[in-house]
Amino acid sequence: MNPRIAILLGRTVWSRDDDGWKAAAYPSGPSREPIARLAEILGSGPARRTVALFEPESLSHQFLETPKVDRAAFASLARVRREHPVVEAEDLGWGIEPPESTAGGAYATLLHAEFTPGLVQVREACAEARCPLVGAWSAYTALAATAPRRAGRGARLALLVTSGYAAVAAIAGSRRWFRSWSGPRSERDLKAVFAALGDAEGTGALAPEALSRAPAITAVVAEEPERMLPGWAELRESGRVDAVLGLDDLAAAAARMPARHPANLVEAFPCPQNLDPVLSGVALSGLVLSLGLGSLIMGDRSRLGSQEAQHRLRSGGLEAQLAHLHANQQEMLRLQAEVPEGFGQLPLEMKAALIRLAAALPDSLTLSSFSVGIDRTFAFEALVVGRGFDAQGARQELERCGFRPGKDQGWTFEPSQGHLRVQGRIEEARP
């Protein structure tokens, strides 16, 4: 949305409605009515940003040399602060044109500054009406803003003519300046205007050789320039005026100016830091973060649900397996009670064992006792009754037939008495 804009030129306040620009002129004197009217116009209507073209009689324009620095550095220069204390004042509007090189190689600027507080009141009134004043530009700055699109390098003048106000500005060239005349124009004022335009005669027409050296003029005029500036027709005819603009063009140029331009007079006032952009950023970040976390939460929930489903599936399978084993256990305990302990192992065939034992014993031995148990244990005692008893051979034959002597006291042979005692376990016979 375009800002609301109003213009104060000298003691005339210009406001625009559907019918065009309307002027409210105030008599000369110490009255602050033009300032109050400007504030009233800007602060009326719905809340929106406002811009002022602020050129009261109390605004000065001083050319001064300066390093090529920005506005803040300019205001911090000791020489500037000493010679132009306005840069430290908190109730006087001021601004500078961007420093540009001069013919001598140094840089120079034009300092626009109020002599008396006025703009600060406009700004406060606008702030109260929730119509923040984002820019206040001197007529020079606004005129300069209209020129770049048409100007080449070299000197260029701007002429501003309205009822009750006239100004001439050198907006390009090695030395920039601004001169203005407020109130009804006298003959002397008119001569001064043409003199400023380079026409010392004040006729509006220059000799051909002077005309070729004269800088081009961008003119901003309101209403009927012929009536307000006698000699206007001759000036137009001279060909120096290469563009004739209206107040709409001037206002549009002022509205387009970035607020951070060093010539912004409002920047002189301390103003609170507007936290709304930061707060909006925080709100937006919070919203984005919430949405991101929301999607994470949805993912978490989905993952949790999937985890639970998988767990139910796995634990269901395990529980079924466990229940099956429990059922097996119950049945097996019941079955085990139905059979004697140890039943089921390969039963010892007692007859076969007796036959194998008889076959294994050599003829030189005769049994004095033996016992064979179903637990596959055996024990026997024998006497050597014949010659040529081979104890080692007898033991090997017994083991081959499955009668394996135990490791401890399993084979006891007393050759002197011819007495053999064997005990051990019955195993499968080897072929």
Binding site: E90, D276, E319, F343
Partner: protein
């Protein structure tokens, strides 16, 4: 020149709302993540406990049950009847003295133990002793628990003092019913 701050109530409220939403979402996210972690640990513990319980019952698998069933079936098929003792006595013959102990009732069968002693054994009886043992152990329900023999005398003259066959008879419980 900036001094002080200014902000609109709407922007402040929106920022607070945004921060609140983000904070709430963060808290919910953390809570859910914690809940998921807790659930995962709990589920893992439960599954570990189940797996451990299953491992503890490994001896009761289907193959073990089938093996036991077969063993029980084999045992049932091999049980004797109510007249097993008298049949066994007849099988040993008149030279054998029987010494029976009282029948003992188990949950699914009855067991009766006892011994047979060969009267006046001689070394020449050995083949018949082996045959008697062989014939006895194939009777249904009969189990030869032990065979025992003792002899005495010197190297030239030996005599059998004792031949004892200890038996156990497993019989159907129905055989005990009056």
């Amino acid at each position: 020149m900036k001094r002080g701050v200014v902000f609109s109530k709407a922007a402040a409220a929106a920022a607070l709302c945004g921060l609140g939403m983000a904070g709430a979402a963060e808290a919910a996210h953390r809570h859910l993540a914690s809940q998921a972690g807790e659930a995962l640990r709990s589920n893992q513990a439960a599954e570990t406990a189940l797996a451990s319980a299953i491992g503890g019952l490994a001896a009761f698998g289907d193959s073990e049950r089938a093996s036991l069933r077969a063993r029980v079936d084999r045992f049932r098929d091999g049980l004797g009847g109510g007249d097993s003792w008298s049949r066994l006595s007849r099988q040993f013959g008149e030279r054998w003295a029987a010494e029976a102990r009282p029948r003992e009732r188990k949950s699914a069968y009855s067991i009766q133990t006892g011994s047979f002693y060969l009267n006046k054994p001689s070394l020449g009886d050995w083949p018949s002793i082996v045959d008697a043992v062989g014939a006895a152990e194939v009777l249904p329900g009969v189990e030869i628990l032990a065979v025992e023999m003792r002899s005495s005398g010197d190297r030239d003259r030996r005599s059998l003092d004792l031949v004892k066959v200890a038996v156990a008879i497993h019989a159907h419980l129905a055989a005990d019913q009056p």
